[in-house]
């Protein structure tokens, strides 16, 4: 009995030469975008509400305000989670845009390298600010 596969193998052998590297990275990056998107919707809205709408809004945000806020581990975690998710969500989005629009492999690699470097630097800087913040400096 001849199978469909055998017919294709005979008449279109080139179709069987293509080898794709098995990887589930795209699956999880896609899933991460959905989850982080939903979480960010809440995190950013809460952030905007507290920083810009409550009281006299952004006018009242000064060192003392930040010091009071970051006295709590909860708000530090909140802000760091927002930093982590927003940075990775944005980086992953840009990675996809770069994959779609930059067609020359060397340029694509260069721009991606720049993007990843920037992400790592921003992540380290932001994390350092939150972790090492000292409310007594200004006092």
């Amino acid at each position: 009995m001849t199978t469909v596969e055998q017919v294709y193998q005979k008449h279109r052998p080139e179709a069987f030469e293509a080898k794709r590297k098995p990887s589930s990275f795209e699956v999880w990056s896609w899933f991460f975008m959905r989850i982080s998107g939903v979480l960010l919707l809440f995190l950013v809205l809460i952030h905007l509400f507290i920083m810009h709408l409550v009281g006299s809004g952004v006018e009242r945000v000064d060192f003392a305000f930040v010091a009071r806020r970051w006295d709590s581990v909860g708000w530090k975690t909140f802000d760091w989670l927002m930093l982590f998710l927003a940075l990775l969500h944005g980086t992953n989005g840009l990675r996809i845009v770069i994959d779609d629009y930059l067609r020359k492999p060397p340029l694509r690699t260069a721009v991606k390298a720049l993007l990843y470097t920037l992400t790592v630097v921003l992540m380290i800087m932001g994390t350092a600010v939150i972790v090492t913040f000292d409310p007594t400096v200004g006092a």
């Binding site: 009995m1 199978t3 469909v4 596969e5 294709y8 279109r12 080139e14 179709a15 069987f16 293509a18 794709r20 590297k21 098995p22 990887s23 589930s24 990275f25 795209e26 699956v27 990056s29 896609w30 899933f31 996809i96 994959d99 779609d100 629009y101 067609r103």
Partner: protein, 234 residues
Amino acid sequence: MDVRLRIQRFNPEQDDGPHFEDYTIDAEPMDRLLDCLHKVKAYEDSSLAVRRSCGHGICGSDAVLINGVNALACKVLVKDVKQPITIEPIRGLPLIKDLVVDMDPFFQGYLEVKPWLIVDPVAKEPERERLQSQEERERFDDTTKCILCAACTTSCPIFWSDGGYVGPAAIVNAHRFIFDSRDEGARERLEILSSKNGAFKCRTAFNCTAACPRGIQVTKAIQEVKQAALFGSF
């Protein structure tokens, strides 16, 4: 009535690149665009290259870009499109001549998802038919309608920018087997579609769903394949 057509022409032996030519032919409002193309070929310019086989929306040979929208020339009526009717070859595939493109990259993507029944190779040949309930058949009914005309894949902006993408048609045909209770190759196919340039390259532009002459919910099928790859549910 007079029907004005603007057809993209390209003769690789003479032209540097594609250009448009205008034709006015006599046709009825209920004529199909394929009839118009036949008239141009028969009475105006016999060198016009058009691909068609059955002429009744089943073989999938005559997908073209009609007024900027992918469709089968044999399923669009003159009365339903604005004149002058612009007819171009489908995009994203190498142009051969006039309205004829090289379909090889399209079928390459199709064959990569192994569009045939995969069963346990150790098992002997079956002694009876592979039975399936109506519900099990219903699960993938929509994706069995594909006629491989390439209207979806060549309307996809991701396929235009990166020909390495397997394209919506390939994913639709993978869906047809992944959700078939008789097939055992789902994991194999999902592994191929999880890799780079697989189903996750889809950005849900919905051009494919709009273009499908068979009314297949292409984007929905792609999303179901993504879910199956993520949760292993099939």
